[in-house]
């Protein structure tokens, strides 16, 4: 429906027949894996030493539901913590579960940060979960995750 309206608005009517240029495509090669490739499960285990992080609303992960452009996806992680010498967030880890190397960034904090927060921008090759893990000074791991839909885009 929308298509017809659009063409009408454009004033090109039915003349807009699809002419597919003859483009040949090489057979799809398997996705190359860089030397850093590490699946999410392994990357998570490497950080937590095999412990399963507890899903917690103390970790707030902000990512878009739909990414305008997979090459620049904003990510903000905030962890509720007093950030005192006896109780602080030691690290924030961000993972993109389906990227060949699922690790994005590991941020090591100290009470001198005053507040436990990280904001950055990541590349996502496809629709997937983004995971934030917080490592507390008492040795606990907390986490939050959210799925980000990556639309086609970027082909023009």
């Amino acid at each position: 429906m929308q298509r017809r309206d659009f063409l009408k608005n454009l004033g090109v009517g039915a003349a807009g027949a699809v002419i597919l240029p003859s483009v040949s495509f090489a057979a799809d090669a398997p996705k190359p894996k860089g030397s850093n490739a590490l699946p999410y499960k392994d990357a998570l285990n490497a950080v937590t030493g095999g412990k399963t992080p507890e899903v917690s609303d103390k970790v707030s992960l902000k990512v878009p539901e739909i990414a305008e452009n997979g090459a620049v996806v904003p990510v903000t992680v905030e962890v509720e913590s007093p950030m005192t010498d006896s109780d602080y967030v030691k690290a924030i880890h961000v993972f993109a579960a389906k990227n060949a190397n699922s690790r994005c960034i590991d941020v090591y904090l100290s009470p001198a940060n005053g507040k436990a927060m990280l904001a950055t921008r990541i590349k996502l090759g496809e629709t997937q979960e983004v995971v934030a893990v917080a490592e507390l000074s008492n040795g606990k791991f907390l986490m939050a995750s959210q799925s980000v839909k990556v639309t086609i885009g970027g082909c023009g």
Binding site: P32, K33, G34, S35, N36, A71, V72, V73, A96, N99, A100, N101, R103, C104, I105, D106, V107, Y108, L109, S110, A112, N113, G114, K115, A116, M117, L118, A119, T120, R121, I122, K123, L124
Partner: protein, 111 residues
């Protein structure tokens, strides 16, 4: 290698001693994953990405970041920092080709 353009931004612009402020560091860096092909030559473009970013305030390390190739081109890193006297904030990054560069911002709390 010419110095890469970089910038440190502190929010709010004016702050007092003891205040917790937002600090952002950004740098013009290609963040090449090593898995992208040159459109013309069809050759893989060699990996070239930031591996480490350290925030140092008056000689004391405040934040250390281990960085991977999945960060966006021309990356931006934002965290908080508690103002603890006048001095300098130094942000030092290292990349996968061994390049090291530092960016400096003067810290001048009011009052």
């Amino acid at each position: 290698m010419a110095k890469r353009k970089s910038l440190i931004k502190i929010k709010p612009k004016s702050f007092t001693d003891g205040e917790v402020v937002k600090v952002s560091f950004m740098v013009m860096h290609p963040m090449e994953t090593g898995m992208r092909k040159d459109k013309k030559t069809k050759e893989l473009i060699p990996a070239e990405y930031i591996t480490k970013v350290v925030f140092e305030y008056n000689g004391k390390v405040i934040t250390t970041m281990k960085v991977w190739e999945s960060l966006s081109v021309n990356p931006v890193f934002t965290t908080y920092m508690k103002i603890d006297g006048a001095g300098v904030l130094k942000v030092i990054f290292t990349d996968s080709k061994g390049e090291v560069q530092e960016t400096i911002e003067k810290i001048k709390p009011k009052g």
